[in-house]
């Protein structure tokens, strides 16, 4: 299973190199993509270490716990990966998640699950699209657009909710999204897998995927070759917004609690997963499989440290060290000084 993931990663990396070789030398944010092998090696090492440390580590129950913990961050990271491949960044996801959930939550009194869930997802999609238009059509840097949008959407979530939490308790279908299961697999995990497969198909096997890498590799060249670069970027931000809304909804449903103060700082955790997964912030590279592996690494590290009773403060330090351990070996592979 893990070897297969490794294979995917390798194929992705060659594809990226091909795309990258056509692209201009990257400018800002340029950096060398994280080594895929070290990423998978760390994951395997963690699995072995985990089983050695706590015997119940690879139990079905604990695998459920890890995957459930990773589901929301992973789904957000799918959207982020697409955005980052195009050379942009989305800092607004936590704000989108909360504003969408509040907007949907305000529909709870109607009693209609379709209205609650639909409003949540559409709000996410709409804010994402606004991000995309501001970035792609008006040329405002995405870091600023989405940083501004983070503040705006958090503020609006507070204003709309009056700062009060909402309880989706009466909407059974909503709760099912977070607490239900399909043939014994928790629904958030099902969504993580299904959306992951869809995102892999989109990035690897579709025309849109090629347009994605080309846009991120070199916007001008991509535009000259007939790719609608404005459209591509608008779409990835919209997808990222929808992913954020969905992830927010899964978490809110699990806890049956829509918290206007929630998802604090989530944007940086998701970015860490995305970049750990091999996406370069200069655009043109990155893969969903890498992102999945990275999300699992972070999820497993947190699960293990919690099981070992390591304090959350020391966990931050250890998590940082693990990220570096994955990232550092990248230096040996590419010798170009920037």
């Amino acid at each position: 299973m893990t070897e297969k993931v490794g294979e995917h990663v390798m194929t992705m990396s060659t594809l990226e190199t091909q795309v990258a070789s056509q692209a201009r030398p990257p400018d800002a944010w340029r950096h060398l993509s994280v080594s895929e092998t070290s990423r998978v090696a760390v994951l395997i090492a963690l699995l072995i270490a985990g089983q050695a440390i706590t015997p119940s580590f690879l139990s079905l129950a604990n695998i459920h716990v890890i995957l459930l913990a990773v589901a929301a961050i992973g789904i957000m990271a799918y959207g982020m990966t697409l955005v980052v491949i195009t050379g942009e960044i989305d800092l607004s996801i936590a704000g989108i998640a909360i504003l969408s959930c509040i907007a949907g939550g305000l529909m709870i009194p109607t009693g209609s699950a379709a209205l609650v869930i639909g409003t949540t997802l559409l709000t996410g999609l709409a804010i994402g699209l606004i991000n995309g238009i501001l970035v792609a059509a008006l040329g405002i840097p995405s870091l600023i657009t989405t940083l501004g949008m983070l503040g705006i959407s958090r503020a609006l979530a507070n204003i709309f909710s009056g700062g009060q939490a909402l309880y989706p308790e009466p909407i059974a279908a909503y709760l099912w999204l977070g607490r239900g299961d399909l043939v014994g697999i928790p629904l958030p995990v099902v969504l993580l897998v299904v959306l992951g497969a869809a995102a892999i198909a989109l990035t690897k096997y579709s025309i849109f995927g090629r347009a994605l890498y080309a846009t991120g590799g070199n916007v001008k060249a991509a535009a000259l070759s007939g790719i609608n670069v404005v459209g591509v970027r608008a779409v990835v931000f919209a997808i990222s917004g929808a992913c954020a809304a969905l992830a927010g909804m899964l978490e809110s449903a699990r806890l049956s609690y829509i918290n206007p103060a929630g998802f604090e700082g989530m944007e940086l955790s998701v970015l860490a997963v995305t970049v750990l997964g091999g996406a370069s912030l200069s655009g043109g590279s990155g893969s969903i499989t890498g992102t999945v592996v990275a999300a699992l690494i972070i999820g497993i590290v947190n699960n293990l440290l919690n099981q070992l009773g390591v304090s959350i403060y020391l966990q931050q330090v250890v998590t940082a060290a693990v990220i570096l351990a994955v990232v550092m070996p990248g230096m040996w592979q590419r010798g170009i000084a920037k």
Binding site: Q164, N259, N302, L308, S311
Partner: protein
């Protein structure tokens, strides 16, 4: 140096008042005694026992590691101002100006102020309330009660600002109010240390300042309206001792070094420190975040198969823990097929609902409905400055509140209340 002497003073004052209350509490039947003094006497009893030594090594180790002794010694315990005696059922009912929720506020008769204009009727008094978290139910309710009290007096103009858990921003808000020459300032400080200097600056500018619930490092502050963290943690411990003489405990605590964490967890450990049957399995800081408490508890469920008690320093944490235990299908997985006992603080409506349905065993109420006391205290200070009335005491204790349990119980003289006997719960009602 000054800090040192103040701590000594507080400690002596606290000990004196407790000493005065203790013999009474023992002499008379507990039911006749006010809840406040019954609990204070128990605090004294368990604190003394813990000071003499803790026989439980596990509990003692955690107590030592986080240095709870220093925090507990500095936390004032004492009598209520003006000989006030609080009884269940007291207080005014109104709709919260911010939350729009129905509120029954317990302490509106404490240091009362009659409705209508205050002090010099021809003057307008501008008062600022700065706190953190206009999107936390507990804190919205705090602002609700402050705004309600201010609205009862036509010549008080209240400005309410949310500093969003940025201590530096709170300092800047206070500095702005000093520049605007406000008449009084009420604050809910997040952490003690950084809020001392801005408070001192306001005092130096002649503006009375009152802190609510948590404390600041200022020695000049006009008054401190104190919460009852000590009573919270102690009652969690008393309940546990009453319910089971042994148990394996996991902790969901607030951020390390915060008063709420140190006093509640410290008092809990003091209460159970001399019972040998308790084991500390794991200790998490989930920083008042439900999702973090959820994750930690979910992971702990995998690490340990013999968890019998989930101790939570707050209601958010308890709800997260409960959700994680439920998701793992482990509600009844304590040794011997017993239910995992969940101990909570904060009398939110959602927590009371879980008490009713038997999912959370007990909650120590920690009411946010104390903002009105802060407004009244600061008005009295403004009046005292102008020679219109006497100043309120520097330390304003809030009444200790009895724990809430599904069935009525008597635990070491504390009459517990049932959720139906508790009209003071805050936060939105959970439908369904």
């Amino acid at each position: 140096m000054l800090k040192l002497s103040r701590r000594h003073l507080l400690k002596t004052a606290a000990t004196l008042t407790v000493l005065a209350a203790a013999p009474l509490a023992i002499a008379r039947a507990a039911a006749e005694e006010s809840v406040h003094s019954v609990i204070n006497a128990l605090i004294k009893k368990y604190s003394d026992e813990a000071r003499a030594g803790m026989s439980n090594g596990d509990v003692s180790a955690l107590f030592e590691k986080d240095g709870f002794r220093d925090y507990l010694d500095a936390y004032p315990v004492g009598d209520l101002a003006g000989g006030f005696v609080w009884k269940p059922g007291m207080g005014a009912s109104f709709v919260g100006p911010y939350s729009k929720l129905q509120i029954k506020s317990p302490f509106t008769d404490y240091l009362p102020l009659t409705e209508g204009p205050v002090l010099d009727h021809s003057k307008k008094y501008r008062i600022g309330l700065v706190f953190h978290g206009f999107n936390h139910p507990w804190l919205i309710s705090l602002a609700d009660t402050a705004a309600w009290e201010a609205a009862r007096h036509p010549n008080i103009e209240l400005e309410v600002i949310d500093a969003e858990f940025d201590d530096n921003k709170m300092g800047q808000v206070i500095d702005t109010w000093i520049a605007k020459q406000y008449d009084g300032i009420v604050l809910w400080p997040n952490r003690e240390a950084p809020m001392g200097p801005p408070v001192d600056r306001a005092i130096a500018a002649g503006i009375p300042v009152v802190s609510l619930d948590r404390r600041t490092s200022s020695e000049q502050i006009s008054s401190e309206v104190l919460g009852n963290f000590y009573a919270n943690g102690l009652q969690q411990g008393l309940y546990l001792k009453h319910a089971a003489p042994e148990g394996n405990i996991i902790f969901n605590r607030k951020d390390l070094g915060s008063t709420a964490d140190s006093i509640r967890t410290g008092a809990f450990l003091e209460a159970i420190g001399n019972t040998p049957g308790y084991k500390v399995l794991a200790n998490y800081h989930t920083n008042s975040q439900r999702t973090l408490a959820f994750k930690s508890t979910a992971d702990a469920m995998q690490a340990f198969h013999d968890i019998s008690v989930s101790f939570n320093t707050g209601g958010e944490e308890a709800m997260g823990a409960l959700d994680a235990i439920r998701e793992a299908n482990r509600l009844n997985s304590a040794p011997g097929g017993k239910k995992i006992m969940i101990l909570a603080n904060d009398d939110a409506r959602e927590v009371l609902k879980e008490i009713r349905s038997g999912n959370i065993e007990m909650v120590s109420p920690y009411t946010p409905l104390i903002g009105d006391i802060g407004i009244r205290a600061v008005v009295m200070h403004i009046g005292a400055k102008a020679g219109l009335n006497e100043a309120p005491p520097k330390l304003i204790m809030t009444p200790n509140l009895p724990m809430i349990t599904k069935e009525k119980m008597n635990i070491e003289g504390i009459e517990t209340l049932t959720p139906d006997e508790w009209p003071y719960a805050y936060g939105p009602e959970v439908a369904g």
